[in-house]
Each structure stands twice: as structure tokens, then as C-alpha cells.
Symmetry: C2
Subunit: 238 residues, 2 copies
Amino acid sequence: MTEVNCRSTLNVQRSTYYREHDKVWLSVDVIIFGFDQGKLKVLIGRRQMDPGRGDWSLYGGFVAPNEGINECAARTLQELTGLKNLFMRQVGAFGAPDRDPGERVVSIAYYALINVHDYDERLRQEHGLEWVDINQLPPLYSDHNEMVRQAWRRMQLKMRTEPIGFRLLPNLFTLTQLQRLYEAVSGSEIDKRNFRKRIKEMDFIEKTEFIDKLSSKRGAALYRFNDSVYKEDPTFKL
Amino acid sequence: MTEVNCRSTLNVQRSTYYREHDKVWLSVDVIIFGFDQGKLKVLIGRRQMDPGRGDWSLYGGFVAPNEGINECAARTLQELTGLKNLFMRQVGAFGAPDRDPGERVVSIAYYALINVHDYDERLRQEHGLEWVDINQLPPLYSDHNEMVRQAWRRMQLKMRTEPIGFRLLPNLFTLTQLQRLYEAVSGSEIDKRNFRKRIKEMDFIEKTEFIDKLSSKRGAALYRFNDSVYKEDPTFKL
DNA sequence: TCAAAAGTGTTAGATTTACACCCATGA
DNA sequence: TCATGGGTGTAAATCTAACACTTTTGA
């Protein structure tokens, strides 16, 4: 006579096969990367709920009963940034039994890349979020520091073989900006001439007619990533 | 007077913070890789429960309320193989809303490596499992084919930079066996001389005094992987 | 006029790839 | 004696890494 775990109205019909098993709470947490002032940054905020209210934390949300986990992550991300079609990838599931101090919650981490200037400053403040240098992160709630570490690692690897870095830059960027980005992500210095040599081999990184006069007196050529040229020959290696 | 976090038997106590959210079933599925007859194989069986009873499927299990997901995967793996301390890594979470035809179940995929000869044949038959060539897999239950695909990809990458391949071989192995293994995993042929040259540079792959006379008339030297030598200088690249 | 960032090629060294023949043995 | 798999080295090509000076211009 045990009525187990049959939450909510909606899936009563379906709840026949796995009745004997317990359910768990499932959440997603999103590591949002940005690039600003030559630093790789992560968007974090003060946790708004118990337990851990007030702690620095990643932004997350619970997976709804009939929602795919990727959809949940995309929704969470949009809730937070107002932006769609962001580059997003799963990092993995985190499920140590005591990872959340309040309850048993398994969480799936995702990372996403955004151009910090696309992000509405008002929205950021409303959510109480801050861009924090990934090398200066405070202790975060639960296992979120570990999530960031793994997400960073994943992103590093991805960035060597796919042209995703552009997602962190404005549409038009200088080669120095691009180089600084790669340095910040990889955590090591890159030789300017070798870097530019490799860039020149990629036709989908196009020099435009525009000049950036802000970052130097002489002015630097502005480049753009051309996705349709990339798709013709999608090879990338940096 | 709230006594929280009293993880006891039934965790009624803990269920205070996230009450308003729904839970989901969470399972793990394990891709067990083996190497036999020059082929990379996966251990699959006929599904023993509804829905999908009788379909080819990976082996899996539900995550228990107070069990970490890694522990769950290790337990599932041991249940199945009787073996402990297998090499095992998470592939990722699979959570399309309709991935399981019966219910909403999110599953976390893991892969593991075993030496097929360590695996008790009787146990295999009791579970109704078969070693199937990864290139000849039948359609599997739910999204299990995709899980295998991703696990394979993961393993390929791991195998280039960590000496995990030995987990798929007997303690003593010939260089040809090792080469065939790398060929099967990477899916491409390798030049014999170049391969052996690289092996010779790794001191932790030791030639033993033993000779294998089964696979050739002349006999081939048997090698072993020496983990403590590896740990002194843990670099690996193949 | 000078400080600051942009831009530009060459060379040595390291790594990777391609390639062919002799050996030992059991059938 | 021959068929089978074991075992070995070299050279060309490619890739990687190191390195320094000239240009432009706003302050």
C-alpha cells in the first residue's frame, strides 16, 4: 500500500513502470563565461534561497517534469541573460550524495559563452550578478568551484578545435583582442607573430575595412568571423 | 525546532527546502568496453523490464536516494561483472524529455574498461549479456546507441593521453596486441615501426622474459604495464 | 619627440610520416 | 621449404618555436 513519489497531477498515468524506485531533485547550473579587460570572467551571484542564502553561487534552476535537460539549461540561461542562441555545452553531472547541504540534489553543469557587451547591464544588476575574474573566484556554494574548473577545462579543449572564441568577442575585433582571449583561456602567453601567421591561414577570419582607434594611437585593423565561409571548410586549429 | 539534514532512513526531514520542485527518476547506464579478437566490443543484453522488455540495451540501474552517482555507477558495474576497481568515467547526462518510452527518466552514462578474460563467463550468461563488436551494434533501447557513440569518442581521446588501454588487455600482452587495440579504438591503421618506436620510449611498458607462442610460430615477446614506473613520470602520448 | 601598440619573415629544431626487408618457427 | 607473424632504422616532409625591428600617431 505504498504510494511512492508520485508528485503532481501531470504524470500520474505514466507512473507505472518504475514505481519502486525513488526520484531525486535534478537541477542545472550554468557557468557563463565572458571576456573583458583581457580577463576571462564568470558570472556569479549571491544565492537567493536557503540553504546557503547569500553565498556566492552559479546561477541554476530545477529541471521541470517534462522538460529536457538541454532545454532547461537554455531556459535558465535565457531567464538570466535575455539572450537566445548562445553557445552552450554540457559539462557533466555532479551527484555526490552530500553535495547540496540542504537536500539530495543532482545537478548538471553547462557552460555558455556570451559577449559581455550583449548583456544588458540593468538585467545583470537586477539579478545581482557580477563578472568575476576566473582566477579570483571566491569560494562558491556547494561544488560550484569544481564545476567552474571542469567547465573551463572543457572550454579550453573545445576552443582549440572549434571557432567558438568569437562568441566571447564583439562582432568586430582586433587580432590583439583575439590573442588576449586565447591567452586568457589557455592561461599561457602566445607568440604574436606565430599567432597572426596561423590566423592568416583561416579564410573565415576576415579583415574588414574598419579600424579600431581606441586601443592604440596607430589604430588596429578590425576583423570579423564569417560563419558561412567557415562552413565551406570547417577546419579549425589553434 | 527544525532538525535538518538528518539523513536517516527516509529523508522526510530533509524535504523542506525544495518542496515546490518536482523530482525525476535518475538512472545510470554503463557502457562496458572489452577487447577481443582484435575487435572493440561492448557488453549488451536483452532488457528485462518494461517498457522495452526484450530490446537490446545497455545495463543500468536507478540512483538510490542517498547514493552518489559515481557510487551508483560503481555498484551497477560490480553487480554486473563482480569486479572492483575498474576504470570508469562519466560520459554525461542524457535527458531528452521523451528519451525513455515509459517515463521521464534522466540517465547518466558511464563507460568502463574491462579485460574480457577477467569476466566470469558464467556471470555473463546469467545476466544474458553478449560482447558485441562496436561496429556491428544492433539498435539499442532508447538513446543507448548515442551513449555508446559518445562514450567511444570520450575513450578515444582519453586513450591518447592516459595509459588506460592496458585495462582492456591481459597483464601480459604482445606489442601486436597493443597495436591492434589502438587500431580498434581509433578506427584507423597504425604503422608498425612507428608504433613500436613510440612504445620503446615509454619505460613503463616493460618487456618481460616471457614469450607468447600462441599467436605466431616464432613467438612474440610479452610486455607488461608497470604502474609504479609510470607514476614516477606520468607522461603518455600515443 | 617619444611612448605605445600594430604589424611583419626567417630559421633551427622537433615531430611525424612513409617505407621494405630479414628472422624464427611449426606445419 | 614455405607461410606466418615478429622484429628492426632511415630519410623527407611537416610542424613548431624562437626571435627583433619598423610603423604610425596622439599626447
